[in-house]
């Protein structure tokens, strides 16, 4: 009886939340306060697949849910990236009937890697897809080993893993479990040495010997081999190859696929979603066709104009250097003269003034490719120092901590405006330049 009441209460809050445009987390959080074992009480008609990892999980989750829906299945999913315990609970509450039965064919859940152990305490996914593991928000998460330990404890022996063969770190997750790998073959943009500062797998995750790479796609993602213990890129069941960066065409196991967003990491995200869909029973021809029609561009990249001047908003995550490296890779693909606007504030939520993480981002790659960089936000001067050490000259750097001064600063510059900001700061930046 209490379960039904809490469920009703949760559903009501979810409805109110939908009306107010808020409340993807809160209904679940409150319901869990009233009924801590709530998640143990649900029953599921279909398989549950969880998607976790440092980067790309929202894109991969949304694409997988889209493939399954378009293929004709009923899908329950937390598509707005509300991936903590509250968000997951809200998703399940709103998809369950009053008996706690979720009649979706598939439940597709994006799960924050740090919370996986808590979320899966009371129920377990049938499949877990891990996109990759990188250093990410060390002030909150701790280092990758802490995350790996949490995942190791969260993943029950029955869970089938869908893993990125190009990532030596996540490929090595709980080796006892059944697994299947997706991966990307050498491309024209893959390199012999990593051009990024952040490289989390310089040594073998099993024996700590220096890890050799045949090539890198980006950061530590590539083809690897340990000459000491033999650990290497595993056999790939879902292989992407023949990547054409001009058209966005590529092949997955011989099936032509297309993506509008032609970055190396995105080809892997698409391949991950297709691999998961195939594991869940969609045939690969259908999966690649649906994936090809999915528009990823709008999720992290937004094109607009400011007084007829072309502008581009690229969202990154603070203290997540790989997300900035990916944004930088994207900026390098933008043609013509460019002015970059970078906003760096204090650490979200805790407000410390640390900027150590800026030294993990390969700003050096931008030298010669952008004309000016406007440094904004509370840590504007610290950012400017980082850029000076990367090789930018003082006349290229325009510094003003006040984000509301951006409008007057950008008028002094030329070229496409590329805004490189943290997700949380994006709206303030847009308001300032309108």
């Amino acid at each position: 009886m209490r379960f039904i009441l809490v469920l009703l209460f949760g559903k009501l809050l979810t409805k109110i939340g939908k009306l107010t445009g808020k409340g993807t987390n809160l209904p679940g959080e409150l319901a869990l306060k009233l009924y801590p074992d709530l998640l143990a009480r649900f029953t599921f008609k279909g398989k549950i697949i969880a998607i976790t990892g440092s980067n790309g999980k929202t894109t991969t989750t949304n694409m997988l849910a889209n493939i399954l829906s378009v293929a004709g299945y009923k899908v329950a999913s937390n598509q707005k990236g509300s991936n903590l315990t509250g968000g997951i609970t809200t998703t399940i509450i709103s998809n369950a009937n009053l008996h706690g039965y979720v009649d979706a064919d598939f439940v597709v859940l994006e799960v924050d890697e740090r919370y996986s152990r808590l979320i899966f305490k009371h129920f377990s996914p049938d499949y877990l897809l891990c996109t990759n593991l990188f250093r990410d928000q060390l002030t909150r998460n701790g280092n990758i080993d802490v995350i790996i330990d949490k995942l190791d404890q969260a993943i029950k022996p029955s869970v089938k893993l869908i893993l990125n063969a190009n990532d030596p770190i996540s490929s090595n997750l709980v080796m006892e479990n059944e697994r299947v790998y997706f991966g990307l073959a050498h491309t024209s943009l893959s390199s012999l040495t990593s051009f990024n500062i952040t490289h989390d797998a310089k040594v073998c995750p099993r024996c700590y010997h220096k890890l050799d790479y045949e090539y890198f796609h980006y950061n530590h993602i590539g083809k690897y081999h340990c000459s000491n213990c033999g650990y290497q890129t595993p056999p790939i069941a879902y292989l992407a190859d023949h990547v054409d960066f001009t058209t966005g065409n590529f092949m997955i196991n011989g099936f032509i696929t297309n993506t509008t967003f032609k970055s190396l990491f995105n080809f892997l995200n698409v391949t991950a979603a297709v691999a998961a869909a195939c594991e869940l029973g969609v045939d690969i021809k259908t999966a690649t066709e649906i994936a090809s029609n999915f528009n990823i561009m709008e999720q992290r990249y937004k094109e607009f104009t400011i007084n007829e001047r072309p502008a581009l908003m690229i969202l990154s995550k603070n203290q997540n250097p790989v997300s900035y490296d990916q944004s930088i890779a994207y900026i390098l693909s933008v043609k013509g003269p460019k002015t970059l606007v970078i906003v760096v504030n204090n650490i979200n939520h805790t407000y410390e003034k640390d900027t150590t993480w800026l030294y993990d981002i390969s700003f050096e790659r931008l030298i010669g490719h952008v004309d000016y960089i406007i440094c904004s936000g509370q840590r504007a001067y610290d950012l400017a120092v980082r850029l000076k050490l990367a090789g930018f000259t003082s006349d290229q750097l325009i510094i003003d901590a006040q984000t509301n001064m951006l409008k007057s600063k950008i008028t002094k510059t030329t070229g496409t405006l590329c805004f490189l900001t943290e997700v949380y700061d994006a709206q303030a930046v847009l308001n300032a330049v309108k």
Partner: protein, 235 residues
Amino acid sequence: MKTIKILWLYDDLLDLYGDSGNITIMEYYLRKNDFFYQIDKKSINDQLSFVDYQLVYIGPGKFKNLVVASKHFNQYQTEIQKAINDKVIFLVIGNARLLFGKSFSDKQETYPGIGLFDYQAVDTQEVYISDVIVQPMIDLDQTYYGFINRTGYLQSYDNKFPLFKVKSGMGDSLKPTEYEGNHYQNYFGTWLLGPLLVKNPDFLIKLLTLLTDQKLTLDNALEIKAHDLTMKEFK
């Protein structure tokens, strides 16, 4: 001109985040001031010798990696102690300091350090963060900013060789301590990230003076401004 030689130890294993910035800024000003310099990276598969080097740098790393590095490092206990007594500069950041104490432990095991200092350390896997304001013991007129982000701490000990006096924020231990870090001969060990040499132009000058044996003038108005603005936020 003599080549300045810097040894970056365990750059592959001890690479927690951002601390390459300390090397980047030293390199930047050595280059600007036309010094010949060489930075060697060495790790557990290399033989170590300290005699040729003017500065040894070790940054923070994941605890499991630190354990692996320590087994290699401990083989050179005598050579390291000799190098420190011969006034080779050591810049040791974050949990790399654990290598220089008596021992360090996690929930399962205790590992020996080289015993240069008499502290013992504990790793908890819980993240501690703190903005820290300190004054260097060698120049109490200066104030520095640093950031602590660690999963371990040093158990309370009688710090006979403190590097900094703590004005605000966390020190060496679990509870706030009066002093932070160690300074012995030319050994400088601290928890402070930032990166330390980037955030504190005065400390960089002191270190480069030691390293080059020359009083350098640096074109560092930008770093000074960044430092002063940070300091203002603590007033």
